[in-house]
């Protein structure tokens, strides 16, 4: 019963975006909505890591930017069709994340945050300095072919087309995260999160599942990065900078990572809060900082936590 309700919810969510897009005049708002959807998928990946592994990453923006850089650098060489190149960039990013995961998931809590921050900044530095390949601080512009995945690229570079595509991808990602959490793998990783030693004594290996969760969260983030690069046809080191990782983290925590859809909500709220604040004041950094402190101290379960508490009140 509850199951079919959830599926109904996913179907409704998937339909809301394309429907809404019809009523919003193309332009700024739709473009913002498309970008907010990228941010939401990004936050979904970071929230997934918090929920399944219990660890906070300060370097996930690297996995957002990396596939974009890979596509931008390899595209002019005309080695393979764009679709294959996209898939290869995703696979490569996930493989790298898995390898990194095998190392970093050995440390816990605070040290994990510092490690991921350092790895992310290392890649950022590399992207700014390795000018011959990355274009340094200026970034790279992509010359995309006319069609991708059977769709005209032009369609995907218009706010309306991209918003609808990104929204559907986002819904699919949410379904994947939800299914994972209910699978034996989801149970196992949550058990490891709460009591790793006991899980080892029950007969499980704990390193591989944790590394796999790290890689899966990187995949979600990489998908967001791919959509972004497809839409903007541009990638620059700003996308990898640690403040980008920090923003993703704030979105996930603001929304609340205890439920799968929390980070999505956080992503949209954060994105529009930032833009609304940006229109009135230049102090959005402070606003975000204060919001983060408030949520961390007073509402550790985020907006989703608040909403669930409201609803379950008698």
């Amino acid at each position: 019963m509850k199951n079919s309700l959830s599926w109904l919810g996913f179907a409704a969510l998937g339909a809301v975006g394309p429907l809404a897009a019809h009523f919003i005049p193309a332009g700024m708002t739709l473009s913002l909505l498309a970008q907010a959807t990228f941010a939401a998928i990004f936050a979904l990946g970071i929230g997934f890591l918090i929920r399944q592994n219990g660890t906070i990453s300060f370097g996930h923006a690297a996995f957002f930017g990396l596939p974009g850089y890979a596509v931008a650098a390899l595209l002019p060489l005309k080695l393979m069709p764009l679709e294959v190149l996209f898939a290869a960039a995703l696979v490569g990013t996930v493989a790298l994340a898995f390898a990194i995961g095998l190392v970093v998931v050995r440390v816990h809590g605070i040290a994990f945050g510092m490690l991921t921050l350092a790895i992310g900044q290392g890649l950022y530095e590399a992207a700014t300095r390795w000018r011959a390949v990355t274009g340094g601080h200026d970034g790279m512009t992509l010359r995309l072919p006319r069609e991708v995945f059977g769709l005209p690229v032009k369609l995907l570079q218009q706010p309306h087309g991209m918003f609808v595509a990104a929204w559907i991808v986002m819904t699919l990602c949410l379904v994947a995260v939800w299914l994972f959490a209910r699978s034996p793998w989801g149970r196992l990783t949550e058990a490891i999160r709460d009591n790793e030693e006991r899980v080892r004594f029950l007969g499980y290996r704990t390193l591989l599942p944790r590394a796999a969760v790290f890689a899966a969260s990187a995949l979600l983030v990489a998908i967001a990065g791919m959509l972004s690069v497809l839409y903007n046809a541009f990638i620059s080191p700003d996308a990898i900078h640690w403040t980008a990782s920090g923003s993703g983290l704030i979105m996930a925590i603001l929304g609340g990572s205890a439920v799968a859809w929390g980070p999505l909500l956080g992503g949209f709220v954060y994105f529009f809060l930032k833009h609304a604040a940006g229109a009135y004041t230049t102090h959005w950094l402070s606003i975000i900082g204060v919001a983060l402190i408030l949520v961390a101290v007073a509402f550790p379960n985020g907006l989703a936590g608040l909403m669930i508490r409201q609803r379950s009140r008698p």
Binding site: D194, N195, E197, R198, V199, F201, L202, G203, Y204
Partner: protein, 232 residues
């Protein structure tokens, strides 16, 4: 037949020697109690047998050397343990964690263990929400899932009521006698120890002080002086 044998177990922390050349040999289906004052090395020995910490020496399970195996591999070979501090998954339901434990060892759903430990009425509650005595039983049930043939228990009666301790003792007696499960138990509750142990090993300062049948241990003047005192 020897189920569990340890030879020359030595463990040092920095300059402190927690266990010094301890050997132990436990028969199949035997209940072996480890007793001794705090800091004697009882828990350290359980940790060494279960593979929690690296140590010197050799551990054999059913004749096979398991000294270098991970805790998980030992568990899959049938050597299971419980923990002194209740070690469960508070945010999972009772049923879900028993299933998790069962899946690691065999393909079963572990529901027989739920019944064996009277946990079925609590199956769908979160483990963090049930009472302390129930949590202790769940801890034991996690260790017993998948029918391990050798069980290491670290103070399973700690914090239990008199009634609960009595039930625990009867249960352990039963699984050893009926199913031939080998049990090594660390316990401070002497009523439980003398009620169930076939053999008692007394540890003091990381060494074996005495070993023998409960009556002999009770009468051993060294043991009485070092640990049991006049109470026993």
């Amino acid at each position: 037949m020897i189920a569990l044998a340890a030879t020359g177990i030595t463990k040092t922390y920095g300059g402190f020697t927690a266990l010094s050349d301890v050997s132990l040999s436990v028969e199949h289906g035997e209940i072996r109690a480890l007793i001794g004052p705090n800091g004697a090395g009882k828990s350290t020995l359980i940790d060494a047998l279960s593979g929690r910490n690296p140590c010197l020496g050799r551990v054999e399970l059913m004749g096979a050397d398991i000294s270098r195996l991970t805790p998980g591999k030992r568990r899959r070979l049938g050597l299971s343990r419980s923990f002194q501090k209740t070690s469960i998954f508070p945010r999972m339901t009772v049923r879900a964690q028993i299933e998790l434990a069962a899946r690691a060892v065999d393909g079963s759903d572990g529901m027989d263990v739920l019944d064996e430990f009277d946990l079925r009425p609590l199956a769908d509650r979160l483990a963090g929400d049930i009472g302390y005595g129930d949590q202790r039983r769940l801890d034991l049930a996690l260790a017993m899932t998948g029918q391990p043939h050798t069980l290491l228990l670290d103070e399973p009666a700690a914090g239990l009521s008199f009634e609960e301790s009595k039930r625990l003792a009867a249960h352990l007696r039963d699984i050893a006698a009926r199913r031939g499960v080998t049990v090594v138990i660390v316990e401070h509750d002497m009523d439980v120890v003398f009620a169930i142990a076939d053999t008692i090993t007394v540890l003091q300062l990381g060494q074996v002080l005495a070993e023998g049948r409960p009556d002999d241990i009770r009468a051993n003047p060294d043991v009485v002086r070092a640990y049991l005192g006049s109470a026993a």
